[in-house]
Structure formats: C-alpha cells, structure tokens
Assembly symmetry: C2
C-alpha cells in the first residue's frame, strides 16, 4: 500500500493549494479527485464560471456603456446560449488543465476515484483502479453540493440547481431564483443583465446578513432599477414543470401567488460534500448542513485529519478556501511561513454591481458599542467614475470618532472586488482618515473613492462638509 | 484693495486643492483663473481629456475584447471624430463645473483674469474688471504650456501641440508624434488603438527613464505589436505642411528619412507657465524650462510665496500636484494634518496598456548596490486575466534577498493605475514576500498578481519554481 505524508481529498482551490504547498516543502503528497476534471467548484461549477458569465453578460448587454460614447454597441441580436457560454467553457477548460499541471509540476501523485475512510490513516479510492492509500495526515477538501429539497422537481432542463444552471442549452426568457444568498444574488443579477426577466424569491427580507446594510440596500435598489422582481418573505409551495417547453413552469408560493417562468433556479443552499467518505466510521461528526467542524487550525475532532474549503461551511469562498489549505499545511508540517489566516478578510460578491467588504459593518460597530462615524463617496462623483460612466456604486468607511481609525470598508460598484484590497491594508495597519488624506492616489482612478470618503467622514464628524 | 490670507493663482488640480483646503481651515482665500473654464490642464487639456480618449479608443476599437466572446463588437464603421470626442467634451464640461462649485461651496473668492505680481504681497488681475489683491501668502499654481520650437510650423489644424490635438475636427489617418515622454507615449498608443497609423519619433532610445526598464521594454513590445513605427535616435530637420488637406504633411528627419503623415503632434516638452507673472520683479528665478524652484515645503526663494503643480516641473502629474497644494497649505497655516507629501508616490502613465510603478526599479536597486531579487507574474496567467482576455501585462516585485522586504512594484497592463495602490502600501509598511503570501485576495481578481509574483520571487531566490 502506498504511503504518504499527506493525502488530500479534492482538487478544488483549497485542496490544490494545500497539496502543492506540502509538496513544495518536500513532503510526499497524494491527491484524490472523483471528477474527470480538476479544480472542483472553483473552476468547474462555482467561482470562475459564474464570474465569467458575469463579465460576458456585461459585455454582451453593454449595460455599463449605454449612451456613454454617443454610439451604442451592437451585438446584432446574437444572444444565443452558445455565445453566452463560449468564454465560460474556455476558462473552465484552461483552468482545469492549469490545476492539473500545477499538481504534476510539484510531484503530487494524482488518484482518480471516490474516496472513503477505512480508518483514520487509510483512504480507499474507488476509481478505474481501486487502491488504498496510507497517510500520516489527511486533509478533506471535498467542497459542497447543491442541496435538493423534495418539493423541487429538479430536471436539469428547466428546474436547476447552482451546478446544472451552467449547462443550459438555451437561454431562459424568464427565471425564478429561490434564495437571495451570494449564489442567488449573483445569478439573479447576471441573468437580468443578459436580458432575462428575473424573480428573486427569499424566505425573509434580510439578505446577505454579513454585509453592511447600506451596501445591501444599494444592491436592492439596483436590482429594482433593473426590474428584478423581489419576492421577499415568501416560500415555495409547489412547482409544476410542464411536459412541453412551450408552456411555462408554474411556481406556486405559499402566499397563494403564482408565477410563470421559463426556468427555475434553486439557490437556497449547498451542503458539505461528505457523502461516501465514511466519516462516522472514524468518528468525525457533521452538522445539519453536513459541514465538518474544525478548530482554528482547521483540524477535525480526529487530530491527524483536517478539513478546509466549502466542506467546513461559511464563508465558502475560493479565496478563503485556498488560505485555509495553506494554513492547515503550515500547522501540520510546522512550515512557519504563515501561522494563521489573515485577520482581516475581504469578501467578494460578484453581483452586478459587485460588492466587496472588509472589517466591521456599521451594524457591527453599533453592536460593539463603538463611538463611530462613517464617510461615503460615490463612483458617479469621481472623475474616473465619470469617464467609465459609473452611475451606481459607493465606498463607505466606518471609523472610530476619537482616533479616526478605520475599522471597516464597504464597497459596491465597479471594481469593488479589486478596490477592497487597499482597504484591507488600511484596516490591518490601523490607519486613520488623516493617513488616507495624506496619501497620493493616481489621478484619475477609482481609488480616489478612499480620499473622498475620508473627507466626507471628517465633514460628518464636524458637521462641516468638505471635498 | 481686498485683503486675503491666501491668494492662489490657477484653478488646476494643485491650485484648487490648495485654495479649498485653506478655506476649509477658516482662512480668507482668493483664486485667480485666466481661462473661462476652471480646472486647468487637469480638466481641460491634460489629464482627464487624454484619459477619456484612452477609454473611448479602447471601447470603440474593442481592442481588449477581440475574439473574447465568440462574437465581436461592431461599431458600424462609425469612427467620426465627433464620436471620438463626445465623451471627452462631456467630461471636461462637468468636471470644470465641479471645480467651480467646489470653490464656491468653500467660500473661495474667484477672480477672472491674468495675474501679475506688483510686489511680494500684491497681485494685479487683468480681467473684465482690473483689480489688485493683497495676500499674506501667495501660491503659484499656473501649470505649464506646450513649448513651441521655431522649426515646427504649428497651425492647430494638422501640426499640433499637446493642447490643440484635443480640438481636431477630423480624424487623422496617420500621425507622427515627436517625443516619447509620458504625453507622447500616451497619445501614440491612444491614436494607434483608434486605428491611426502612428510614427513615434524620439531623440534617443532610453524612453521614460524613471520607469523600470523591463516595464518600458514591455511597452515597446506592445507598441511594435500594434505596428507603431518607433523612430528612435532621430530628430526633425524640417516639416512642410501643404496648403491642401489632400496632400500629406512632409516630415524630414535629420537622418535624411522622410515620412508623410496626415497630422503631426509635438509632444517633446512643456514649460512652466510663468509668462506675464512678473516674477523677476519680486526676485523669483526660473529654470531653463521656466520651472520655479522650491524647497521641500514648496516655498520659493521669496518666503511668503509658494509654487505647486506643473509649474515646478517633474513629475507634473495631477495627483502629485494636488498633494503639493495640500502640503503647501499645511506648511503655511500649520494645519498639522499632513506635514509632507507621502514618501512612496505612485506614478501612473495612461498608455495602452497602462503603466504604474512605485518604489525603486531594478536599475535603482543596482545603483544602490542592494542585494536584491525580483518576482514576476503575468496578467495572462491569472484567472481574472483570462476572464477579461488580458494578453499583455505583468507585475514585478523588487525585494531584498536577506529580509524579503519589497522595495518596488512595477505594473504594466489592465488596471495598472488601480492595482499599484496596494503595492504602495506594501512598500510603505516594509512588507515581505511572506506577508504577501499570507494575505487573502478576492478570487478571481488581478490582485492575485501580487501573490503569484511573490511565489515567483521565492522560486527565483531558491532556484526552485513554485506556484
């Protein structure tokens, strides 16, 4: 039986980075992948595909450019699903191959098949060839799968989950999305941007609870401007999918309302993918959502077994998964290069417009009873924003009144997921509004938002507005 | 005679920010503008117009998107100069009005006319109404003007300087640009992107000497791919502009070569605009290029008179001008909010592709005899770069070998002028490659370039490549 210092289960962002890092530090590593393609949800069904579709929908619709140049882009009515999917498929193919090459380059042994635990140090792999592997340490990075409640008649044609929606062979005229979490909000705005009439159904009305409320409010405003129908505090009673594609899918809400849509997307939850791992056999318990519980080093209740990425639940982002993988390896092999995940994490949500935040929200500042204040700047007021025709978007700083230290940065709009990294640095280094005002930003750039928001914050403090 | 705590001459980025800041701190401020419009070169003839044209040319050409989505943008052959200028003119109009409103909102008194010194505390303004103003302090922020050598027959129709090129009424089929400085490189790539055949003529072959050579090399490669003819180590002997627009402008080089082009742009220098100020009367001397000499507080040889922005010469960027204005005011009124300009400045060059750098280049590291190494990542290898179809571009880190501290960041390609700000923070805070590797970046974003370049740097150090 082959023996390894480390066995990693899953080649998504968390698993790949863990395996490669351990190999880089000279350890003997195996990785197990049950799919024919590498990269897990990050490459194949989640992060990259949806982000590519977002860019494609923005490009094909010309949404951000309308009227901007006195001439409009004309795509000649070509909105076939092939066009829509062209770029996505290319990205998946090349990135999956990148992951494979990266593993090979680092000398990681690759096994194809389904993993299950025999004991805490032995993993059985059922693939084209069945093998058992011994591992001193094991990292579970199996990701998540879309939960399928019994009352939704998934058919992969018109009633989709967040995996199958990527394989549609025709373009929906209208779409009902159930669940206004990250995935639901992303697809609702992407399809709406592409011209699909979208209904967004959610059980309650406080969506994206970990995001600053003003930013969420801005997203909701934007959705309404784009004529997305928000059906909040609603649940699904029944869905009927007719035999003929010419008829609409009938979605009946518990309130009695009925909507008729071309397609339906269930985006109300993904579960940790622990299916078939035999976790009970080795004494690892999972939560209701099948998430594995870990400590701050990503160690499970079995000390030589770790878990990283979507399989441990929130925040379930590719970026955090990768770093969890690296931190777990640092802990296992005492590599001393990074001891813990960065304390201030950026969150990126690839809606249209996109959202990114770091540090504490206004609501968290209130809960912590801080004496705080905020400063805001709007994309549309920045010279760079005018050049790019940004109509929407804002950047908000949350800072404490006495020392002017910045504790939170919240952005919605053009380049939010890029712009946040400067804010992460400001929070980590305990910078103040005056530090920001003293900085030189290239002109014109959207980073000007930071300086304008800092001036706005000073103005709010003194009751005296200044630019 | 009206008396002021501060008189500012010029409403460009440097003058505006100085006036507004002094007014915000409660001082009585006058500002003098000789043009009908506000904002100086930053708004009217330099920064914003050329950056807007850059975006327009990228949009209209679809340069960055070709083939990306299996469908190409079609602008229906509309490349009239009106289309090209539409957005630029809108930006100028709205931003000039923004400057005026900002001055009014802060209670700055505005005088229209040409300023000249009567003595070190008295400025005469010749406008619709002639007035003299007394000022305890005076800030000169008059900017620069394009130098006109006698052998160039400027006619504002086919033979242009960097101001008049913005007022062309038809689109050049071909263009010779003299001078491969920031302005020359920007316009050469902007017009080339828009489909104009461009010749770039330069006296020597070491262009943009303050930028890392590898980045400059990448720009030159890009220019050559775009079929810009680089005529380096060449000077102009003679230019003949024919009477008829049907004939080409004949540009004769000292080497004997002759090129025939539709239009000619002189971009080989701008001088400090001290014309008519009567500086000799109050004992302020100017250099050969009419730049005013100042100390680290932007104070001239006359202690109550300061000078900021393009009128003091290099780097002549809007961003640095604004901060010079703020620093001068901080020094004059002891506002204590910022004592000096930020030590690490970002430089932004809005070529296609754009460039931005901070800290020391590889060449400077050599000069300083540092034991250094570099790490590079390419836009085309980043998942975000693939999504946007970035073919060109790189980010380079310069770091010292012993402590891995990052001393320079050099970027060319998509979003360079935005991405640099994270790098400025890394340099200021003396962060190491390991700090960068320990950071979490949103995925996928172009900020991943930092992490990949850091890994590349570690690999280069150890002779052991890793991703």
């Amino acid at each position: 039986m082959d023996k390894y210092d480390l066995i990693v289960i899953g080649t998504g962002p968390a698993g790949e980075k863990a395996a490669v890092k351990a190999a880089y530090f000279g350890h003997k590593v195996a990785i197990i992948e049950k799919q024919a393609v590498f990269g897990g949800a990050g490459v194949n069904t989640g992060t990259l595909p949806s982000k590519t579709l977002k860019e494609t929908s923005l490009y094909l619709s010309g949404k951000y450019d309308k009227g901007l140049y006195g001439v409009d882009r004309d795509i000649e009515g070509d909105t076939s699903v092939d066009t829509f999917m062209f770029r996505k498929n290319w990205i998946i193919k090349t990135e999956s191959e990148e992951v494979r090459k990266n593993l090979v380059r680092h000398g990681v042994d690759i096994y194809h098949g389904t993993a299950s635990f025999v004991d805490a140090n032995t993993v059985n792999v059922k693939g084209p060839k069945e093998v058992s592997l011994k591992g001193t340490y094991i990292i579970i990075a199996t990701g998540s799968y879309p939960f399928h409640p019994p009352n939704i008649p998934f058919d992969n044609a018109r009633i989709h989950d967040s995996d199958t929606i990527l394989n549609i062979t025709r373009y929906p005229q209208s779409l009902a999305v159930l669940g206004a979490g990250v995935i639901g909000c992303e697809y609702a705005t992407i399809f709406s941007t592409s011209g699909t009439k979208v209904f967004l159904i959610n059980r309650n009305d406080h969506i994206l609870p970990f995001i600053d409320k003003e930013v969420v409010g801005n997203l909701l405003d934007s959705m309404q401007k784009d004529q997305i129908d928000l059906l909040f505090n609603k649940s699904i009673a029944k869905i009927e999918s007719p035999a003929s594609e010419k008829e609409m899918v009938k979605v009946e809400l518990e309130s009695g309302e009925i909507i008729h849509v071309d397609m339906f997307l269930y985006a109300a939850g993904r579960n940790g993918d622990t299916r078939g791992l035999n976790l009970d056999k080795i004494g690892i318990e999972v939560s209701k959502r099948e998430a594995i519980t870990v400590n701050e080093n990503y160690q499970t209740s079995v000390p030589n077994i770790y878990a990283v990425g979507d399989v441990i639940g929130f925040p379930a982002l590719a970026s955090t998964g990768m770093d969890q993988g690296r931190v777990a390896v640092a802990h296992i092999f005492q590599t001393k290069d990074i001891e813990e995940i960065a304390p201030i994490l950026p969150y990126g949500i690839y809606t249209v417009p996109e959202i990114s935040t770091a540090g504490i929200s206004e609501e968290e500042a209130k809960e912590q009873k801080l004496s705080f204040c905020t400063g805001i700047a709007y994309h549309k007021d920045m010279p760079r924003g005018k050049i790019m025709g940004a109509q929407r978007g804002l950047l908000k700083l949350v800072f404490t009144r006495d020392d002017l230290i910045i504790h939170g940065v919240h952005i919605i709009g053009h380049l939010a997921t890029e712009l946040i990294h400067h804010g992460v640095g400001l929070i980590e280094e305990k910078k103040t509004l005056l530090d920001v005002i003293g900085k030189v930003y290239n002109y014109p750039t959207l980073h000007d938002l930071y300086k304008y928001a800092a001036y706005d914050g000073l103005g709010n403090l003194s009751g005296h507005k200044v630019k």
